[in-house]
Symmetry: none
Subunit: 138 residues, 4 copies
């Protein structure tokens, strides 16, 4: 494995592009959402809570983004591994790890450079909103 | 979605009306209970522990009220979504989120203005006591 | 030392009497306050947040009551011992221990049966409000 | 004291206006900053971390905003009250309470509707950046 001497990472501008696109999707779906983006280090870059979004999802949106970067897979994929019969059953009791769909890692080339998390609707809606965020990255 | 520049919220007097009605129900059921009310911001407004109520339920009653406001649904509904096959499986590992029945949001018009949480009996009893609290609001 | 086989303790009714008297004093002083009462075990019995009281004082009021019972002295006395030159310097870094005036233990005979804590004004105001609460005990 | 049945609060758009103005000031001062805005309930509305801003300040910026709302005063004012001889000495050991300048409450009329917090530079710089944010509110 080659040694990495740098972390490719999202910038704040990119994070805001993503949140803007995700928010537009959330407005289309009429789902007030909390949307967060973390960088390659898993640390919060930007966050927005839409009018009327659940208070309980403020932390969850951030945790979804963190989780997606922490395991370099979407929280939707992670959820599949975390059921009672899955190999990762119980992982959600780790601090800041959540297993609800709506957290997606973002790649540049083959490196994960950060992640987005959305929370406020059903997990299907959250997933769509997060996907819109990833696609909003120019 | 219309932008809210103010949050309708419960007052202390309303919180005390609710706790009084809930406590009366708890006395009828002979269930020593912890009863809490939070405002629209999810912050504690009032709390009472009846004689003999479980110490372990002091925090749970508060968490039920917070959870009901945090997701604008009763903890009973949330519980249904949080089983091993539910879309919100694992949500109870978030700080201050509980999935035991007995937490109910309170509305004024179509806005959630706070919530009540009761803990100390079975979840069915807790639910009935919290419901009595909501109905006690004049 | 005689062995205690019972804890003399405040009841919920007594806690509500105290909070009611303290709240009246706070209204007279025009200081929106958070007021808490703990029992002989140091556990929360009752709490009220007046309209407009500081959010940051919700926990502090509870901590004042707990601290006053935890050391069986007023937080005002404890504060004197906790300055940079005092024997208890640094005690406030213990969980739930605060050294602001406004927490007062309550006695029945020579036993501490609980405590009241008030927070929301200056420490002098908080102290007066807590004192009014103690005097309100019938 | 009049009873409030609603809390005037910042909107997300207002929060973003404030962060945008604060960020511009931070760029002028060449201070990579973390900037957060909370609503009337003390809950996070929006957050941005500028390129190169301290990771350790992600939470501090949020705590500054929360603290300014929790006590309806700037963290700079609170700091003055929190010295070894001040009436609030030790308050910084409460969860999420910080006493570094850079947190400022925001008013609409005479009601506090939220707060901004900035962290990443000296406390003087953080204060200037937060002030610029407040002035950026249209």
């Amino acid at each position: 494995m080659p040694v990495q001497t740098s972390l490719e990472t999202l910038t704040l501008d990119e994070a805001l592009q993503m949140i803007s696109a995700a928010r537009k999707k959330a407005e289309d779906l009429k789902v007030p959402s909390n949307i967060a983006v973390v960088d390659a280090g898993g640390n919060l870059l930007a966050f927005e809570r839409m009018n009327g979004a659940w208070l309980g999802s403020i932390q969850i949106a951030q945790d979804k983004a963190y989780t997606a970067r922490a395991f370099d897979m979407s929280t939707k994929e992670l959820a599949k591994l975390s059921g009672p019969d899955g190999p990762l059953f119980g992982i959600h009791t780790q601090p800041n790890i959540v297993i609800f769909a709506g957290g997606i890692p973002v790649k540049r080339g083959d490196q994960v450079v950060g992640a987005i998390g959305s929370s406020g609707g059903t997990v299907d809606q959250d997933q769509k909103i997060a996907e819109a965020g990833v696609h909003g990255l120019r």
